[in-house]
């Protein structure tokens, strides 16, 4: 593993009477692409702003290379930010915007010009130096904002929902490019988004947050496949979440049947919740499966069908490429590795 770069220790933040962060503990490593993921109001942006220095935590510590920096003004930190709406200075042109930070450091003009050129090339905006920033398209502004931040050679780049204002196609393209840029410059990116797909496709580490608390930290596959609680499971992808009981290691019971599974480490007979991803379910003849139900609805989704199957106790969602007639009785089949058992938690 790389070296620890930033440590957040027990961060809390109150605005007026409202607590928006309730004890955040997080280690961020060098060259890591870390995403803070969560619904709006979960505290992800506040966490980012504390790292950037725009907010002071109410309590807790921010360590940068082991040194406490939470009282340090933003202009003395080795981090730079790409703002949600880019915050490009309208009174400066593209090159002046990008060179802004170096200009402040009184770097030689010719050096600045060279570096700006290099940056423009990196973000694919060669020859745009003299343009008026207000006349650029959203994607172009985005690139300028990234270049403006990266030219200062920060240790960490903070990105606050940078793709939020772009349309779907450009967004996909920028995701790829951002990842490429991160690998090229080799620094830590801390990325804030509420879009789970974006988070999963770009990150090394995903931090799922809700209600001012961290729900789960892990790699995208971990987060997707082994959600630790109902919130994470519900927030990431679509899933069937079923209450059940862990009879013992490797054996779980729900919907009136017992199933073998790959999970262990729970207490015997502990109340748990089970996640079944819709794409992990197969539709089979009623005789071949324990759980049976009737097809109530089928919707074509492009690559697959989304089928709702009503059983005695609930409605399951299934994603499959096979067609199933509405009204037909079917069985639902899944293997032990498709069952994800999580701790039961409050009412999410």
């Amino acid at each position: 593993m790389m070296n620890k770069l930033i440590e957040l220790k027990n961060l809390t933040k109150n605005f007026d009477d409202q607590q928006v962060l309730r004890g955040i503990n997080l280690d961020i490593y060098e060259k890591e692409f870390l995403t803070l993921l969560g619904p709006s109001g979960c505290g992800k942006t506040t966490t980012l702003r504390i790292i950037a220095g725009f907010e002071e935590p109410s309590d807790g510590e921010v360590l940068f290379n082991g040194i406490e920096i939470s009282k340090l003004p933003p202009y003395k930190r080795e981090v730079n930010t790409v703002f949600q709406k880019y915050a490009l200075f309208p009174h400066l042109n593209v090159a002046e915007n990008i060179g802004f930070g170096l200009n402040l450091k009184k770097v030689d003009k010719t050096v600045i010009a060279q570096k700006v050129e290099r940056m423009l090339k990196m973000v694919g905006l060669e020859g745009f130096g003299k343009r008026d920033v207000t006349l650029l398209s959203g994607g172009q502004q985005q690139r300028v904002a990234i270049a403006r931040a990266l030219i200062n050679e920060p240790k960490v780049l903070l990105l606050d929902e940078p793709l939020g204002a772009l349309d779907a196609k450009i967004r996909k393209q920028m995701q790829v490019e951002l990842k490429k840029i991160q690998q090229e410059v080799g620094i830590t990116f801390i990325y804030v988004t509420h879009d789970q797909e974006e988070a999963l496709s770009m990150s090394d580490t995903v931090v799922v947050m809700n209600n001012g608390e961290i729900q789960q930290i892990g790699s995208p596959t971990d987060i997707y496949n082994e959600p630790e609680n109902r919130f994470v499971a519900g927030f990431i992808g679509e899933s069937n979440i079923i209450e059940g009981t862990m009879i013992r290691d490797y054996l779980v019971a729900f919907d009136g049947f017992e199933f073998e599974c790959v999970d262990k480490g729970f207490e015997d007979n502990e109340e748990i919740e089970v996640v079944l991803r819709p794409e992990d379910l197969d539709i089979v003849d009623p005789g071949q499966a324990k759980i049976r139900g009737i097809v109530r609805n089928i919707t074509f989704k492009g690559v697959h069908y989304e089928i709702l199957i009503e059983t005695e106790l609930r409605t399951y969602m299934v994603h499959t490429t096979d067609y199933a007639e509405v009204g037909r009785e079917v069985g639902l089949k899944f293997g032990p590795e498709d069952i994800h058992v999580m701790c039961k938690m409050g009412s999410y």
Binding site: G53, P73, Y75, T81, F83, K85, F89, H91, F100, N152
Partner: protein, 271 residues
């Protein structure tokens, strides 16, 4: 939607009658002679030639000097005030802006009289100074009294547009500047100031326009010898009775202001 087009017709006629025709009248009077009340049609350039005399040129010069001085002071005092107000919480902001505008609701002449009572040789300020054992200072009928009157009356016109441009400024610009390594001072000079320039130019235009053409304040606080271009125009119509010359000066003033305005607009665009 086209049916709404007709809505401008009444104003088109009205504006022509009360804005365009009166200006044409001024121009006509300016280029003719011997025409009080009734317009005559004997063309002359005499009114403009007369204006070139040293005395009148010095009036123009003095007016511009005073206008610039007032504008600079209003900017110097008004900008910090607008800046501080824009930093306040929203609720106190609107209250403070209200407090700045209320005086404008109160008759300018009344406030000017109050200044006369405050500043005169035996006035309130000198009386208070006397109580402190300081000998009286002559303030009335000087540049000082006139500038005080002008600044007090016109500063809100500087504060309001600057405050508007500061308060509607996206906070992320300021954060971005900090983020890119600018300290507070640099953030101000390189970002905040630059972004507030449209408001500043607006304020400059308002204050300059008002202070260069006023005649009441200099007359009351500066005395009869404080002859500015506004007083000159007034005296041509009211006491001298030379409407033609008065119109000519008005026309010149209007043209000078127009030139000034277009210069400011050009600056605004260049920014």
């Amino acid at each position: 939607m086209k049916q709404y087009r007709n809505l401008i017709k009444p104003y088109l006629v009205w504006a022509f009658v009360v804005i365009v025709i009166p200006l044409i009248l001024i121009a006509l009077y300016a280029f003719t002679e011997d025409g009080n009340e009734v317009l005559t049609f004997s063309f002359t350039l005499e009114n403009f030639r007369k204006f070139l005399e040293a005395t009148y040129m010095s009036v123009i010069f003095k007016s511009f000097k005073l206008g610039i001085l007032t504008t600079v002071i209003c900017l110097g005092l008004g900008y910090p005030l607008a800046y501080i107000i824009s930093k306040c919480p929203e609720k106190s902001q609107s209250l403070l802006i209200l407090l700045v505008t209320i005086p404008e609701w109160i008759n300018m002449l009344l406030r000017t009289y109050a200044w006369m009572n405050l500043l005169s040789d035996n006035g309130i300020i000198n009386h208070l100074l006397g109580l402190l054992g300081i000998s009286p200072v002559t303030m009335m009928y000087t540049d000082f009294s006139v500038v005080v009157g002008l600044v007090c009356n016109f500063m809100p016109f500087m504060i309001i547009p600057i405050h508007t441009s500061l308060s509607k400024m996206d906070k992320s610009f300021i954060e971005a500047a900090y983020d890119l390594g600018a300290n507070k001072f640099q953030t101000f000079t390189k970002v905040i100031w630059k972004l507030s320039i449209p408001g500043v130019l607006n304020g400059i235009m308002m204050v300059f326009l008002l202070s260069i053409s006023t005649f009441v304040i200099p007359k009351l606080l500066g005395g009869g010898q404080y002859m500015l271009i506004g007083n000159l125009i007034e005296s041509q119509f009211i006491s001298v009775g030379d409407w033609n010359f008065g119109s000519a000066i008005s026309l010149i003033l209007a043209v000078l202001i127009l030139i000034f305005m277009s210069l400011m607009k050009k600056m605004d665009k260049d920014e």
